[in-house]
Structure formats: C-alpha cells, structure tokens
Assembly symmetry: C2
C-alpha cells in the first residue's frame, strides 16, 4: 500500500483503530461512546478547570483515588498531554460544558471556548480494563449491544478538598455470578483505571433506586443469573463540578472518552 | 495494670511501639532514625510548603509517583492529617528547614516556625516495606546495624512541574544475590511506598560514584555476594526544594520519618 492510499480511519473496525486514527475520526465529527475502541490502549476521562481551582481539584483527586485516578495533568493552556498526543479540544467524540456548576451544553469540540488558564486533568477510565475482561471470557454487555455503559450517582460522598465535594459516581456491568470473582481479580490489577469494584450486588445500598434509569449513559440489561457489579467512575469529577459550582469547567461527555497513546498494560500492577 | 502505671514509651522495644507512643517519644526529644520502629505501620516523608506552591508540588508528585507517592495532604495550617493523628510540628524525631532552597538548619521541632499557610504533604517511605522484607527472610542491613539507610542523589532528573524540578534520590539496600528477585517481588506489592526498585546493581549508571559516601543517611556496607539495590526515595522532594528554591519549606530530617496510624497492609496491592 503506497502512502497515498492509506485507508481512512473509518475503514478500520473500532477495536483495531490505532489511537491517532480514532482521534482523527472523532475530530472529524464521529460522535459515539468509545467503549470497544482502540483495544489495548487506555482511555481517559477529561476535566478542564481554571488554574486557580487546579490545586483544590488535584487534592480532591488525591483524596478520592478510586474514582479519580490521575493519569496526567497539563500545564495551563496546553492542548495535548504526555499520554495524549492529540488536541484535547477536538479529539474526543463529545464534551460537556459547565458554568457555575450548571451543565449548559454538550458539543463535539470546544476550541472556541478554550482559555489559556485551563488546566486539563486526564483521569483513568474503566473502559481500559474491558479488554482484559473480554480476553478472560467475562462478557461486557454494553460492548455486545454497542451502547454506552450505565452510570449512577450514589449516596456515598467523596472526601471533600478545598472547594470540591460531591457524590461517588459508579459504572455498572452485569456479570454472570460464576464470573464475579474473575471480574474482581482482573480489574483489581488496574488501580489506575478504577481497579476493583466498589460494590457487588445490592444497588439500593448505594442509593440506586432503579437500575433501568442510569444518571449517565444507557440502561444495560441485567439478566437472570447475573449480578450488577459497580466500579468507581471517572464521571465523579463532573458530579463534583455540579455540586461545587466552579465558574467554568469542561468535561468529556460521559462514555465519550479521550483515547490515549498508553498501553493498558502500563497501568497493570503485578 | 492500673491507668496510673502505664509503661513509659521508652520501655517498649522500638519495633513494638504503637505509633502514638513512638510519636510521644519523639515529641519528648528522642532523635533517632525511625527504621525499625512501630513494625507494621507505614512511615511517611514530610514536606510543608506555602499554599501558593502547593499545586506545583502536588503536580510534581503526581508526575513522579515512584519517588513521591502522596499518602495525604493537609488543609493549609493543619498540624495533623488523616493518616497521622499527632502533631506534625513536634512528633517526628527531626526536621530540616529550607529558606530560598538553602538548607539552613536541622531541629527537633518546628512549632515556632509554623505558618497558617503551610500545606503538609505526607509521602510514602520505603521503611514501610522493610517489615515484609524481614518477614520473608530478606536481610535489611541498616536495621541490623541500628543506623540510617544510605541515600544518594542520582543523575536522573524528575519530570518537572511548575516551579519544581530536581534529581531522583534513591535509597540503597545491599541484598544477597539469591534474594534480589524476592526483594523485587515483595516491594513491588507496595507502590504507595515506592514499590519495586528503580535500579539493581551498577551504581555508576545512576551517577553514584562512591557508595561509601551517601548524600543522606549513613554508609551501609555491601558485602561479598550482595548486590546494591536502589529504590526511589522520599527525600526526592527535599532535593527538589534545594534545586527549585521556594521561599520556605520544612521537611523531615532524612530517615527521621512521620510514623503514621495506617497499617502497612493498607498499601499492599494484590
């Protein structure tokens, strides 16, 4: 194949897209959840905040490492990161914009909203350990169905820090009862992308009243013989933005992640 | 034993001292390295910085997690921490004071230097994994000899952040060649207290010219059949202070740590 005839990104199956090609696709306007994209590469949650709030948020993340495992932090105004060789303003499928803690809009890029004082936080995402789950034969329903993962705000408060407080947000995957132990064992090896579940079973203990009505993402069916398993979720920072009302913030749209250039295995512990 | 006749802290062997009693001893003026104290409890490096430098340092720590694993960060002015139910100004055996990056004095307490804008960082210390090493039969020379661990500045730069930059500092333990793999395996399970070695063998590759002349702590003999094994060290933040010259900083005296109330096992990964 000559250089002139490189296939367009859209001709790859999503799982096989190299990160740069996936970002190219999203930069071009493709607006889909990224679960199942670029297998083997870590995905990340995004939160961009003004510099004067950066310490409080970094401390919030440090105090809540299960939900906010920090993979990278940019210098103010920078639009790429050591783990993300793209443009943070355009290369995610979708973004959410917050003013004074209010979610004001979702959009496909944020170039015209960019400010030189924005510090970007890249936070580990549980989509990262879905490849090892699948490889071990543990099914991941929302990949099977091509939808977004189901996410819920819980009744568990995060440990506050400075101006930031808010509830723990979790993602849910229905796991066959005989594979729950495998799912725990496998995901516990990836603490930088949320690690082991925070809860197995009983949604009501987390204050989740109706599994069919997630706060973010799509409903995911829990079938006979399956247990709902809950992992800490990188939407927690955006729930903190809504609870804490910083003047301005940009996040990824839930499930529409930053695809990094870092291999999953980099974040695996022995 | 009636409450009136509780033994003084000094009557315990150091390894058996509960953390609160060890801190009482140090508050009373005992000035010794803490390696071998309060077995089973994590120890921590201390760095106190003015609030306006706190983000830059927290980011430096986030970017250099092997040498600067953050266990806890206080609110400005606070003198205790969630992992340390004592007084950070008095309950370590010794402190170092820096002005404009110059090391100006070592002292046994810092109460009269305290400022309401000081944010304290507690950073994991490799003394924490010495108990599991000993339990596995891996000798720890500086505990055998009752001295301080040997620490060296290396030629490896840390990843800078804001106003902070500086070299990686390492601690060295001589390990019998047939037990090096055990030492790697055991310490890799404790990433929050520096984890696996950064280097095994050849000191010159780290820019260390003479093992008998450590930059901090005491020289430790490497015997026939032993390999010098190097772990990232929590003195790295103080080397960054000297390289970066913040107006004011307080650290622990190398080897004279904060003994926390947290069990070693809390920081163990599967």
């Amino acid at each position: 194949m000559s250089p002139e005839t490189v296939s367009p990104a859209s001709s790859y199956p999503p799982a096989d897209l190299p990160p740069a090609r996936a970002r190219e696709l999203f930069r071009g306007g493709t607006r889909v959840p990224t679960s199942g994209y670029s297998n083997g590469y870590a995905q990340a949650n995004l939160l961009c905040l003004p510099r004067d709030l950066a310490f409080d948020f970094l401390l919030f993340a440090q105090r809540n490492p299960r939900s906010c495992p920090v993979l990278d932090v940019t210098e103010p105004g920078e639009v790429s990161a050591s783990v993300f060789d793209g443009d943070l303003r355009t290369d995610l499928p979708a973004y959410r914009v917050y003013r004074d803690g209010e979610y004001v809009e979702e959009r496909s890029e944020v170039t015209d909203l960019w400010r030189e004082d924005l510090v970007s936080f890249l936070i580990g995402c549980s989509f990262t350990f879905e490849t090892p789950l699948l490889e071990a034969g543990v099914p991941v329903r929302h990949i099977e169905t091509g939808g977004n993962v189901a996410m819920y705000e819980t009744n568990r408060p995060c440990r506050p820090a400075g101006r930031f407080r808010g509830p723990l947000v979790v993602s849910m995957r229905p796991i066959p009862a005989h594979q729950v132990a495998d799912a725990v064992r496998i995901t516990s090896r990836y603490p930088a992308v949320h690690g082991a579940p925070v809860h197995v079973g009983d949604p009501s203990a987390l204050g989740i009243e109706d599994l069919t009505r997630p706060d973010y993402g799509d409903p995911v069916e829990v079938r006979e013989g399956e247990i709902p398993v809950f992992w800490a979720c990188g939407v927690t920072p955006q729930a903190a933005v809504m609870a804490s009302a910083p003047e301005f913030a940009i996040g990824h749209a839930p499930g529409h992640m930053a695809i990094t250039d870092v291999r999953d295995s980099t974040y695996q512990v022995p």
